[in-house]
Amino acid sequence: MKVERVEAPEQLPPAWREAMATWVNALGEPLRLSWAPGQTLFVLEQDGHLLACARLVAPIDENRALQDGDGPSAGLAASDELRFHFHVGKLVHLCDELRLFSPQQILLLGNDLCDATEIADLAVDPLAHEGALKLRLLLTAVVKAHEGRSRLYADLQGHRDTDGLSPFWRGLGARFLPVQGSQPGVGARWRRNFAELLPALPLYVSLMDDASRACIGRIGPAAQCAREALQAAGFRAGAYVKIDDAGPTWEL
């Protein structure tokens, strides 16, 4: 088994491309088969057979953010890469006279991870034996190759109920975007657009329904394997969650 880097989509062998087209990533979404310059696909392969992959998305730098939209990367450029997360924080409401001490969990929308490198499309061959182990091998190589540069993070799918639906989406997102229906949308671009509909000020978790609250930082089925691998590779759950289903962000 060895890890290789694929810098541009055109360099992807057709067999790998076909394999990737059938996989889902740690968000439970299909993988992207094309990507902008500045992103690198890391793959784990054995005898030419694709076993796992992870795509590194570098932080947006000022040059790319302000780039005109007519270059070769038009349509895939910086603004799509702007990531929104909820920071899960606390506010303590204190009243001495009533002897009340009330720590409140709050969600604050922001681009806190804009200077970090995202590990997107973290995925493993669904038929692979000991998938988490293979994903860990890949992650360890990624971490080593990335050493000394910006911090790394990976988003994970949030909790799903027995019907495969996200209670957090039902309790929060769907109230701001009812036309979307019972499932959040797919992809970074969709999340970026959806973020525009969310409140800019802190949201008190206390005011949300119980099922939504219970989702914060909890992972869904698509993220099980990735979470094991991230943990083994030294990543830890941070203070951020996804804005659509409250799945956690694991950081290194």
Binding site: P199, L201, L207
Partner: protein
């Protein structure tokens, strides 16, 4: 009941027994009358001081009036000179924020509640309670609206630009409010009646300090709590309708605890104040005919032009108000009329009058 038998006057500590009786029959948490003898006495002492005080109004004044029918107390109403006094007065203000995503082509109007201090310093109408036996009479009108004549008469004691009244929000028989359960209780871990008790009715600043500091998105609350926003408790229907007909508006503010409507208006926009005038007390020409008119008032309208009026007179400590029949175009009040006698007026005094029946409000079609 003969409306001329009604008399509104300032409450004094000697009225403790009457006030206790009233407080005991009012629903808990409504009418801002605690079921507590010491607190009621304190309230009466404060009211007496407020009526007596010759100092420049400090804003702490809390006036309390009692309504008597043939000498028996049948209701009370109050005025707090400055909402929140030296503290802050909290309300939720209804606002609509438009959230939009160009990428998704979606625009969404979101109803939010903003914690605000807009009504700090406003004149606050409080403590309205009427004996249920008198609900269908003219007594509630006198009890509520005489306060407006008092404020008009002693305008320098009420520097607030606006006048407001908190109306009870919906709650069940145990006093549980769906809005409190969805919002307040998440921050205090105590029931609504307990919270009311702890915050001492009027001073809600303590508890409001603990409330969420950012807008509450109404759409995130349970359906029952959403529906309760701006909803009136049935016991508030009568006092609400009186104020609504006056010209108070109920769309902007709700209570931070139970989301009942807080109605607001500018004093000079209110119907009673706009229609009020001050008349001298002097015998009219043909005084004898008038006297007969006044005595006929015992049975009903004396003439086509006679209409029921609110009448108020006196300095603060001996402020009195009643109802009386008066020709709408009268230039003076006859000292022999029933109303003048009820108010203890003599020739040379001045009396404030306002018609009981207000012109129909535009848009008030729902009243039939």
């Amino acid at each position: 009941m003969n409306p001329t038998d009604l008399l509104l006057r300032p409450a004094t500590p000697a009225d403790l027994a009457s006030l206790e009786r009233i407080a005991a029959s009012s629903v808990h948490g409504i009418g801002s009358l605690p079921h507590d003898r010491d607190k009621l006495l304190h309230r009466l002492v404060l009211a007496e001081q407020s009526f007596q005080s010759e100092d420049v109004a400090s804003g702490e004044e809390s006036y309390l009036f009692l309504l008597e029918h043939q000498g028996r107390v049948i209701g009370c109403s109050g005025i707090a000179a400055s909402a929140g006094f030296h503290e802050r007065f909290y309300s939720y203000r209804n606002e609509f924020m438009v959230h939009a995503s160009r990428g998704l082509g979606v625009t969404r109007r979101m109803h939010t509640l903003h914690l605000c201090h807009d009504l700090t310093g406003a004149t606050l109408l409080t403590s309205f309670y009427i004996d249920p036996d008198y609900e269908a009479t003219m007594a509630p009108e006198l009890l509520s609206r005489a306060r407006l004549l008092f404020i008009r008469r002693f305008a320098d004691r009420f520097p607030g630009a606006r006048i407001a009244a908190e109306m009870p929000g919906v709650s069940d028989d145990q006093g549980h409010s769906p809005f409190w359960s969805a919002v307040g209780e998440r921050f205090f871990k105590m029931s609504y009646p307990d919270a009311e008790r702890v915050s001492d009715g009027r001073n809600k600043a303590l508890i409001a300090d603990l409330m969420p500091r950012t807008p509450v998105y109404v759409g995130l609350l349970p359906a029952q709590a959403q529906m309760s926003i701006g909803q009136l408790h049935p016991v508030g229907e009568l006092p609400f309708q009186i104020l609504f007909r006056e010209g108070f508006e109920a769309d902007t503010y709700v209570d931070v605890f139970d989301a009942g409507p807080t109605v607001v208006a500018h004093l000079d926009q209110l119907a009673t104040v706009r229609q009020a005038s001050t008349l001298p007390v002097r015998p009219a020409e043909g005084s004898k005919a008038r006297q007969q008119g006044a005595s006929m008032a015992e049975e009903g309208p004396a003439s086509d032009r006679s209409q029921w009026h609110l009448l108020a007179a006196g300095p603060r400590t001996s402020f009195r108000a009643t109802l009386g029949l008066l020709d709408g175009r009268a230039a003076a009040l006859d000292p022999d009329s029933a109303a003048a006698q009820r108010l203890g007026l003599r020739a040379g005094d001045r009396v404030d009058v306002a018609p009981l029946r207000l012109p129909q409000l535009k848009g008030a079609h729902h009243e039939g």
